[in-house]
Amino acid sequence: MALLDYFLRKKEKQVTTASKAKERLQIIVAHERNHRNKQPDYLPQLTEDILVVLRKYIQVSDESFSINLDNKDGDLNVLELNIELHDDQIKS
């Protein structure tokens, strides 16, 4: 029987489970990467605008300012704005 199997196996070059796995992974990984990298187009301009407004009132260096749009697994998005201020920057 093993002999028979050996010759028959040559023919069954069909879809293997490994190739199924690869195909499924390629789709899901591409999908998830897309989701991950989706930063809205307006973010750079928004950052600029916020900085302009802030600088009307306080001194803010580029390093002490960060903006981040985070997707918290699902529908909830959080726009996070971080501004480091030292004591002397608060007083006008």
């Binding site: 093993a2 293997t16 899901i28």
Partner: protein, 269 residues
């Protein structure tokens, strides 16, 4: 400047601790000063794989809290004097680590070590983020299996967005793919993702392929990292990984199944 290497994966049980132990010991055997840090707060295990579980007095969190000095907490390996282990704490709460205090410990260690190998906990929670935050390089440990590959891709996303290098806009973390529990026979039979498949999906450079091997369980039973088992396929594959990390070009081994003789093929077996 020490090279800070995180061994990470997302998914649990793929071989992070086994790999950290083998690679850390291998780097030390090559004459480097190496410290292995267990970041799995609450689930310490690196000590067991390294065979130093009975010598743990103080741990990472004790150092963070100022209850012990680094020198008190570091366990010097009995086999290689240039290797030390910093064990994770077993009982303390997970929030003990933060960027600031971990950064201080790494900075201190960086003064006297060539390599800092961080064994990450599984998952994508705070502990795993802490382990990868300061990394210069990441060894993404992956099994040729769908859930492991998917989780590895998520970790790659974290490396690119949540690390110190990402936050400061520095050169990104250097990523390495380490494929573990690889079975060339099952790959040949179309039952397992091949090296090329995983490389295609994750598209990061391949650092090593560790074959599925009985030597790994034996090594952890004995508390002797598998790289010391120089007769075993897994031990030799980890040695190749260490050589590649040190800049050598080494051909990949154990990628094809040993051929069965025509006799056993005809009559089964």
């Amino acid at each position: 400047m020490a090279r800070i290497i995180v061994v990470t994966s997302g998914k649990g049980g793929v071989g992070k601790t086994t790999s950290s132990a083998a690679i850390g010991l291998g780097l030390a055997l090559k004459g480097n000063k190496v410290v292995l840090i267990d970041f799995d707060i609450g689930l310490r295990n690196l000590d067991l794989i390294m065979g130093c579980e009975r010598r743990v007095v103080y741990d990472f969190v004790n150092v963070i809290n100022g209850e012990a000095t680094l020198n008190q907490a570091l366990i010097k390996d009995k086999r290689v004097s240039s290797l030390s282990v910093l064990p994770a704490s077993q009982t303390r709460d997970k929030d003990a680590l933060n960027k600031e205090n971990v950064g201080k410990v790494l900075e201190e260690l960086g003064k006297s070590y060539d390599f800092i190998v961080c064994d990450s906990p599984a998952g994508i929670e705070a502990g795993a983020m802490m382990a990868l935050y300061y990394a210069d390089e990441a060894i993404v440990t992956t099994n040729p299996e769908v859930s492991s590959v998917r989780d590895s891709d998520r970790i790659l996303g974290m490396l690119a967005s949540r690390s110190r290098r990402a936050e400061l806009g520095l050169e990104p973390i250097k990523e390495h793919l380490l494929l573990t529990r690889y079975s060339p026979k099952r790959v040949a039979e179309g039952e397992m993702l091949s090296v090329e498949d995983v490389e295609d999906i994750l598209s990061i450079p391949l650092l090593g392929v560790i074959p599925e091997s009985q030597a790994v369980l034996k090594a952890s039973n004995a508390g002797e990292p598998v790289i010391l088992d120089t007769d075993s396929d897994a031990g030799q594959a980890y040695q190749d990984v260490v050589d590649r990390l040190l800049g050598d070009t080494v051909d990949f081994r154990f990628l094809v199944a040993e051929k069965k003789g025509i006799f056993s093929r005809m009559f089964g077996g």
